[in-house]
């Protein structure tokens, strides 16, 4: 039995790490950035930093693609990212509405 101690910090991913996590080619990632569906920080590709939100979307889409054996081109990937992003926004808004609403205590 091994024991490890680590600190979790919010993570930023480089373009190489992001392509690995997303299971996409660098060419696809570049196109998705050009389309504007991915918005990494940093000006040049070597400075790109993807936030954990992009990481979560990419992992979710990868899971769907792999589990359902979908072979998506950049066009379909863009749609996938946009729809997942939209679902995230709606879920967040719904959670927020629940939080801000007066709780029914009856």
């Amino acid at each position: 039995m091994t024991e490890q101690i680590t600190t979790f910090e919010a993570s930023w991913l480089s373009v190489t790490e992001f392509t690995q996590v997303a299971g996409l080619s660098q060419g696809d990632v570049v196109e998705l950035v050009e389309v504007g569906v991915l918005k990494p920080a940093g000006r040049s590709i070597n400075d790109w930093a993807f936030d954990s939100e992009a990481m979560n979307l990419a992992r979710r889409l990868r899971r769907i693609r792999e589990d359902l054996e979908l072979n998506l081109d950049v066009h379909a990937l863009t749609l996938g990212f946009r729809l997942l992003e939209r679902i995230n926004e709606l879920e967040t808004a719904l959670n927020r509405a629940n939080i801000h609403q007066l709780q029914d205590r009856t």
Binding site: E3, I5, T6, F8, S52, R63, D67, I99, L102
Partner: protein, 345 residues
């Protein structure tokens, strides 16, 4: 090892064609996939369906599975003698290189015999065979004798922490079972205690990635990653939105009307708060810096939402006073109804 009926899970006959199996899987996958389905048990169901499909779609794995015979689902069973030879030799002629690449015997005799089977799950067995075959195939193109590298598995775990722990930071202990190979190439589940420090300022739903802390890679392949989801336990008083906290503050009708000083709980103890006279229900009062701390610096805010609570049971004296108030008051909260009715007519 417990038996699972992969055909029954997919709802196909034992004689189903590859096409029928694929169709059945797609239908069930769309129904249960956790990213698509609304079914709260979707994740569990999809896992089963996926496991069944991964095995039955591969002709060699399907053959090996069929060799296990028919048992009742959940029944403890042992593969027939010589099964692993069949799996390795006959059916898996191409797999030899890949399997032995996993360090020594691969799924060698010792690995599947006797005690080795008890702590192994049917799904792990077939997943591993599948991986071995895939890499053997790939290896063949790279030339014989080459070692097959394979990345380790990614893991995702959810850590449930309290609001106080999120505020102060905490140490969590994760008990993971990582599939690993011993020197003889046997597959084991190795319990691993993983201690992780969650720094202060973690928020609900936050995901963190620990590169290389997932399953071990094979033959120098990269390790998988460990993903940690933070989930906050609901707090009896506070609701968290990012680093901001929300608290319902019930006040009496007279406190709302006349104003009052009220002790309000915060994460660092109660503070006295002034409610001004004529405070309507639903008013949001902000206590700056009384929310959750942010990771680097600063704090979220605490929002106190005024809730006017009305007594449901009145004693005689209270009733008389409310009666008196009703007669004396000119307050009409529905004045705009009348104006609206006039406008409409």
């Amino acid at each position: 090892m417990k038996f699972k009926d992969y055909y029954e899970i997919l709802g196909v006959s034992r004689e189903a064609t590859a096409d029928e199996i694929k169709k059945a899987f797609k239908k069930l996958a769309h129904k249960y996939h956790p990213d698509i389905s609304k079914d709260p048990d979707g994740e569990e169901k999809f896992k089963e369906v996926n496991e069944a499909y991964k095995t039955l779609k591969d002709p060699e794995l399907r053959k090996a599975y069929d060799q296990l015979g028919r048992h009742n689902p959940g029944e403890q069973f042992r593969p027939p003698p010589g099964w692993e030879q069949y799996a390795q030799g006959g059916g898996f002629s191409g797999a030899h290189g890949g399997a032995s690449g996993f360090g020594g015997g691969g799924f060698g005799a010792g690995g599947f015999e006797g005690a080795g089977f008890e702590d192994v799950d049917l799904s792990e067995l077939f997943a591993q065979m599948g991986r071995g075959r895939a890499h053997a195939g790939r290896g063949a193109h790279q030339g014989a004798g080459q070692q097959f590298k394979a990345p380790g598995q990614d893991f995702e775990v959810t850590a449930h922490i309290s609001l106080d722990e999120a505020a102060k930071g905490t140490m969590i202990e994760l008990n993971l079972e990582m599939p690993e190979y011993d020197a003889q190439g046997r597959l084991h589940r190795v319990p691993q205690v993983f201690k992780a420090r969650i720094p202060k300022g973690a928020t609900d739903g936050q995901k963190m990635r620990l590169p290389g802390k997932g399953g071990k890679g094979f033959n120098g392949g990269p390790n998988g990653d460990l993903y940690l989801n933070i989930a906050l336990h609901p707090h009896p008083l506070f609701r968290a939105d990012g680093h901001d906290l929300f608290l319902d503050l019930p006040v009496t009708p007279w406190e709302a009307a006349l104003g009052a000083e009220i002790d309000v709980p915060t994460l660092d103890g109660a503070v006295r708060m002034k409610i001004s006279a004529g405070t309507p229900a639903g008013r949001k009062l902000r206590l700056g810096g009384r929310g959750l701390p942010k990771p680097k610096e600063g704090q979220g805010d605490l929002y106190v939402i005024v809730q006017v609570a009305t007594p449901t049971e009145l004693n005689d004296a209270e009733k008389a006073l409310y009666q008196q108030l009703a007669e004396a008051s000119t307050f009409n909260p529905r004045g705009h109804f009348v104006a609206e009715a006039h406008r409409a007519s």
